[in-house]
């Protein structure tokens, strides 16, 4: 059984079709890079998976349970259960600016799962250490660099123990140096067998860390395969053009 199963996904904004027909699945342990030109619908697709956008048609199943089936949404409780299995990291971090790093991590856990304060604090420290931020647990977000913020955001998502992590261009707001530290954390997660779906422009990450690549173009997945296949022998001219431009 696949962790995520997507079929015939359609989505438009005010009459403009952003996703025309998206089909793919994510299996346990997969690290999937979603690449493609701007406006291809990569972020929209990711946001549909975690219910930040409503689809117009198609099916999304999470661990066998439908979130939306043939365009009809499951009851709210089931939708929450499905999305609860995923964690999400945004391009602009979206940390809570009024809370310390510690509270950023513990607040959702305590409020959503009712975890006790001590347990939440211990888990926060452990998780922060994983992303190399253990020493900044009492810092306020405004004092952190972009890379540090993104690492905290990853830790915050991990706190809720998701089965799948979604990354929406996690390094696009960062300069190259900071990008490296965030990619390092993601690479470590992959090594720990976290299932990940990453929308990215970082071709090196796609090439070296991902085990599969989805190339999206014009609202659909044009080509899918291992990094060797996509980078080495692209089937479509569009894929080749995109990669050619990007590698230059």
């Amino acid at each position: 059984m696949s962790l995520i199963f997507v079929k015939n996904l359609r989505k438009g904004f005010q009459g403009v079709e952003v996703l025309t027909d998206v089909n793919f699945q994510v299996d346990k342990g997969d690290v999937i890079a979603v690449i493609g030109p701007s406006g291809a619908g990569k972020s929209t697709m990711l946001r549909c998976l975690i219910d930040l956008e409503k689809v117009d048609g198609g099916t999304i199943e999470v661990e066998g349970e439908p979130l939306v089936k043939d365009g009809i949404y499951a009851p709210p409780a089931q939708v929450r259960r499905a999305t609860g299995k995923m964690g999400m990291v945004f391009q602009n971090f979206h940390l809570f600016p009024h809370l310390s790093v510690r509270r950023n991590l513990t607040m959702p856990l305590m409020k959503v799962k009712g975890t006790g304060k001590e347990q939440a604090n211990a888990l926060a420290l452990e998780t922060l250490k994983k992303v190399g931020m253990g020493d900044r647990i009492d810092a306020m977000p405004s004092t952190l660099s972009g890379g540090q913020k993104q690492r905290v955001a990853i830790a915050r998502a991990l706190m809720l123990n998701p089965d799948i992590m979604l990354f929406d261009e996690p390094t696009s707001a960062l300069d190259p140096m900071l990008t490296l530290e965030v990619l390092g954390v993601m690479q470590k997660l992959a090594a720990d067998h976290m299932t990940m779906l990453v929308v990215t422009h970082e071709m090196s990450f796609a090439k070296e860390v991902a085990n599969r690549i989805l190339f999206m173009c014009d609202g659909t997945i044009l080509e899918e395969g291992t990094p060797e296949q996509i980078f080495g022998h692209p089937k479509h001219q569009r894929t080749a053009d995109f990669l050619g431009n990007n590698i230059k």
């Binding site: 930040l52 995923m86 999400m88 945004f90 809570f96 607040m107 959702p108 405004s142």
Partner: protein, 218 residues
């Protein structure tokens, strides 16, 4: 005026301080939550509630507070016996009028604060599994409050000065005692004393809000 006269006049003016402080404290405590409630209701999914709240804010902000006080104090008691009993005391009318009026201003301030909260904050809350109430309480409210704080400071300083309006419904406060002292002594020095009293009050207020702003900075 001699020093002893100045002291006596100051003492006389300070008798109005209780009114000012009572008004200030009660109105702040009542109008801040009420204002927030209005802000929330103005975002309600039921359209008639939105219209009502917006009309309320529109009227309260669009008309002079003094006329509103007149309306409550002189007008409402004629509507029925309930109002006649409930609004017997001029102070009750003043507290009611000020709270209702300031709630409308605070509602607008909070609305501005809400607009300043990034859409991403709501999305972050959603993907973390926080429900609407939790999102409001733990993420939106604190950020909204921080943005609204300077405007709240501004309004509360205005409130202190606005309390002089209550004389229009026959409540004694600092400025009225100052007027009485001016006509008794034939000197306008009592106005200067009132000036200093208001300034001192607002200095304390300013200090408090400065401290609060520092404390809630992030």
């Amino acid at each position: 005026m001699t020093t002893s006269e100045i002291l006596a006049t100051t003492q006389a003016l300070l008798q109005g301080l209780g009114t000012v402080i009572t008004l200030f404290v009660v109105v702040m405590v009542a109008s801040l939550p009420l204002g927030f409630l209005l802000t929330m209701l103005a975002r309600c999914r039921i359209a008639p509630i939105r219209w009502l709240v917006n009309a309320y804010i529109y009227i309260m902000r669009g008309t002079p507070l003094m006329l509103q006080l007149f309306f409550i104090y002189y007008g409402l008691p004629f509507v029925n016996d309930f109002f006649k009993m409930a609004l017997r005391s001029a102070m009750v009318c003043a507290l009611l009028g000020f709270s209702l009026n300031y709630a409308a201003y605070f509602a607008e301030i909070f609305r501005g604060g809400l607009l300043s909260v990034d859409k991403g904050q709501y999305e972050a809350c959603q993907v973390l599994g926080l429900n609407r109430v939790q999102t409001t309480l733990y993420a939106v409210l604190p950020q909204m409050f921080r943005v609204a704080l300077p405007s709240i400071t501004n309004e509360s300083i205005t409130l202190v000065k606005d309390t002089a309006l209550v004389f229009s419904i026959s409540i004694m406060e600092v400025l009225y005692y100052a007027k009485a002292a001016v006509s008794r002594t034939g000197s306008i020095l009592p106005y200067a004393i009132a000036f200093l009293i208001y300034l001192a009050l607002n200095s304390l207020l300013q200090l408090f809000f400065n401290w609060l702003e520092k404390k809630t900075a992030y």
